[in-house]
Assembly symmetry: C2
Homo-oligomer: 246 residues x 2
């Protein structure tokens, strides 16, 4: 058996999330179906760096799987992309040592969140960015990000459904870039809790419209209470952008 590592891009708009579920269209389900077809319907289990929710996109999701097939990357790409639906593509694939693990070996991830500012909503962006028709003070947002950098208990910024006890995560870098009518948030950290990026964005938007001050973000972090933070920003603006390994 050979272990393979693949980078996968998908448009999450019409998936019920990454993780396989009975009777729902999922990214994992489609990947395993395509791999099954390449392996005479033998089941091939796929392990990802982590899940993504319904409507959330990926530019650089990473998966691993094992196969008896020894094919060069070009042939894997051609075969898999021929079998996968149009809203998933395998972008890169390589053979890796058999102890590589797409989830356990992650050293960091970058998520991006896209907003577009316009008075009238835009049909072409509806699934790919969040419409934000309010004035946003990007300098205030940037000032607030300083309270989020580094290692913190992010209990205030994760869904009540989070079943992890250890809620300490380290954020290495946050960027907020404004181009014309678009604002892009970029978060790089060693890991993110359930809904964490979307709640971080929802809270930073509260800062950007002046509902709370940048300094209040510090007390929201320290309060360790989901009720203190802002709303969970909608799924369609979120992209799993890159996953890092050593």
């Amino acid at each position: 058996m050979q272990r393979y590592k693949a980078i996968v891009s998908y448009d999450g708009s019409t998936f019920s999330g990454y993780q396989i579920q009975p009777k729902a269209r999922t990214v994992q389900g489609e990947l395993e179906r395509a791999l099954g077809m390449m392996h005479k319907s033998e089941e091939v289990k796929v392990t990802a760096s982590g899940r993504t929710d319904a409507g959330v996109h990926a530019r650089g999701q990473v998966i691993h799987f094992d196969s008896p097939l020894q094919l060069p990357p070009e042939r894997w790409l051609k075969a898999l992309n021929g079998l996968l639906p149009a809203d998933i593509a395998v972008v890169e694939i390589d053979s890796v040592p058999s102890d590589f693990h797409a989830r356990f070996d992650v050293t960091g991830k970058t998520y991006k969140y896209f907003l577009y500012k316009s008075k009238v909503r835009e049909p072409f962006k509806r699934n790919y960015a969040t419409h934000f028709p309010y004035d946003l003070d990007v300098e205030l947002v940037r000032a607030a990000t300083s309270y989020l950098l580094g290692a913190h208990d992010f209990t205030s910024f994760c869904s009540a459904k989070t079943d992890t006890d250890n809620r300490i995560r380290t954020i290495y870098k946050i960027e907020v870039v404004e181009n014309e009518n678009e604002v892009v948030f970029s978060f790089t950290g060693n890991g993110f809790l359930y809904n964490m990026v979307r709640i971080l964005v929802g809270t930073l938007l509260d800062v950007g419209i002046g509902k709370i001050t940048p300094q209040q973000v510090e007390s929201i972090v320290n309060g360790r209470d989901r009720a203190l933070a802002g709303k969970t920003a909608p799924a369609q603006g979120l992209y799993l952008w890159e996953v890092f390994y050593d």
Copy 2:
């Protein structure tokens, strides 16, 4: 009654085209449904600059309709965009003289066609541009466009289904712009026959890959036979970009 002119943008991906049809989801159907809701379910007929096919997009479709309501543009936009589905938006609306006609008064139109070049197809572009994994010589394509400019009988470049006798149209301008991995064709003319832009693109792509020479385009025009021209390029790359009036 007041006549209104509106600019409408729509993502054609999940519409069975612009024109209303029983039991199909159409742009006209959704516009008339939203207007009906604003007029206590009285029917409001919408007239567009022309139809677009299933999967074809519009950035600047123009429509007119008559209404007893006298509302300022801001209120029309808010009301209509609140009632329309997320894949249609009214971008601009203005009251116009009652003799304005969205179809008969058209003096020209611009269509754009988007291609993206990459080895692996891209999930986020699948509905919005056509994947073209071959080498394309843009200079050859540009050389070929010179045979299309001006007034010609475009019988070779329209679907057999075209029911117009007069197939003479004037193309004022053709641009072919290459940015990174994207190629955008732009056609401006006084009018376009059924499938004309898509057949023009299909033929220009044959030039760009060296299947035919730029000069052969001249004989294709002169031959007035659909069988001489290239394939009809796929719908998803095509956008009705702008409609002109005096």
